[in-house]
Amino acid sequence: MSRLSVPRPRLAEPNAGSKWQAEALRDEFPILQRPIRGKGLVYLDNAATTQKPRAVIEALRRFYEELNANVHRGIHYLSEQATQAFEQTRSAVQRFIGARSTREIIFTRGTTESINLVAWSFSRRFLQPGDEILITHMEHHSNIVPWQMVCEERGVVLRTVPLTSEGELNWSAFERLLSSKTKVVSVAHVSNVLGTVNPVREIVRAAHAVGAKVLVDGAQAVPHLPVDVQELDCDFYAFSAHKMYGPTGVGVLYGKEELLEAMPPYQGGGDMIASVSFERTTYNTLPYKFEAGTPNIADIVAFRAAIDFLNRLDMMEVYTQEEKLTKYALTALHEVPGVVIYGRPAHRCGAIAFNLDGIHPHDLGTVLDQEGIAIRTGHHCAQPLMDWLGVAATARASFGVYNTVEDVDRLVAGLYRAREFFHL
């Protein structure tokens, strides 16, 4: 590759004085040591799923080798131990997001299931035909489709808050759409495409003023910033373990206890009952009422290691370091000829969506992949947002705690390479 002069953006501030260095963390992630297509892996698809530290992988192995048994059922030693480990994760999650009680922490399969649980259970108890649900134009499909399904079945109306040209929530439109008819506001804490951080506290305050409950889709927030559900005062908060360095197949639904108490079970089966007879079944107490069947025990136990990992790093520090890296990346990307970055939110984290003029994101993804650089291309499960942006697809780079300035430099070099390859 001749004339490949990559202008080096001004170097980010050295992380002197910070608690840890991204570079050093990489050693804890076995997959980052693996060459991809003969090159060192630059993993920039963290919004899809993060890689797992050795501690999580070890915890998973240890569970199956030393603790495996079903939970809440056996009186034997292993079942007791497994149950204890399982419930320890629940306590760790409770502390991690500042919930009042472990009764407010429900394990699910992921953010998607957490949202579906609320959509169906809450609506069965609380929604009447003509009521309204408010979402935003930047939601992931998993915070759109469950509500559409509920609306169709229950005669409820779905309304959408538009965005500003910066890619932020249009606040005056939000206030206009909010009314006494609004029963649920369901909103992403952080957009998985634009990286926009929504003003959840203000949204909750405004929603509560008209008597609406608020569900926050925190899938892209919990890995990147400190979250305190009591401070946010939201009614529900949903997130996925696999996007925060934990195993796949585990999600969390936080819900205020009095609401969860009032809601009917989502699924029926074992564990969620107190007693069953053919005449009458009574339900178990929280949180078990919402956890029908054998849960994903091993992954939930291993999830605790991911929370310990993040606690060790300190979420405020994670936020600060990623903020620096994002700023560096935005500057570096802007300098590449033909790069278009989508959204300019004042408060952002996690993801940067962009396109390179003249190259379809799918082709760009293939070229970068040949360089060992993993990004996401496509509609990112947010087609309404793509329509709003007026594009069919974008490329997206999303960061994690192990990403470094060198990763960004390699991405930028890859973009120059792509331009050259496609004769731009």
Binding site: H360, D363, T366, T377, G378, A392, F421
Partner: protein
């Protein structure tokens, strides 16, 4: 980068930049939409069929280099062919880009691929097979007279 050049041969880049038969056919007898859910590529095919033959064909839409070039070369390759010949060509093309004989493929001799051979590199990029075949799936639906939008998920 050598693998990449196998995928994006110059002819493919040329067809992407200057797609052939890229227009609406005012006298089309059939029109068919195709959609690649994964990457959002969309294509509309226009066909003028007469006496079991593709007398004219064109397309519109937006997509990646592979899907645009594939649609462009396809229109050139099937123009003037009978429906059966076009479908047989799809079988051969499918084999080329996947390396697999599609189930239900006839045992007869394969038609010559001609220019379509430039897509042989797709075989090494399984995630791009759908890009290369979108136009063809759309063509097959049009020829079979199916009304619904085709999607390659």
């Amino acid at each position: 980068m050598s693998d990449l050049r196998d995928l994006y041969q110059e002819m493919i880049l040329d067809h992407q930049r200057h797609p052939r038969n890229f227009c609406v056919l005012p006298d089309a007898t059939r029109q068919q939409e195709g959609y690649n859910l994964l990457c959002g590529d969309r294509i509309t095919l226009y066909l003028k069929l007469r006496d079991n033959r593709i007398e004219n064909i064109s397309f519109q839409g937006s997509g990646c280099a592979i899907s645009t070039a594939s649609a462009s070369v396809m229109t050139e390759s099937v123009k003037g062919k009978t429906i059966e010949e076009a479908l047989a060509l799809f079988e051969a093309f499918h084999e080329l880009v996947t390396g697999q004989v599609s189930p239900g493929a006839g045992r007869g001799p394969r038609p010559s691929l001609g220019k379509l051979a430039v897509f042989s590199g797709v075989r090494e990029f399984p995630v791009r097979v759908k890009c290369a075949t979108l136009a063809w799936h759309t063509l097959r639906a049009a020829l079979e007279g199916r009304q619904e939008t085709v999607s390659t998920e």
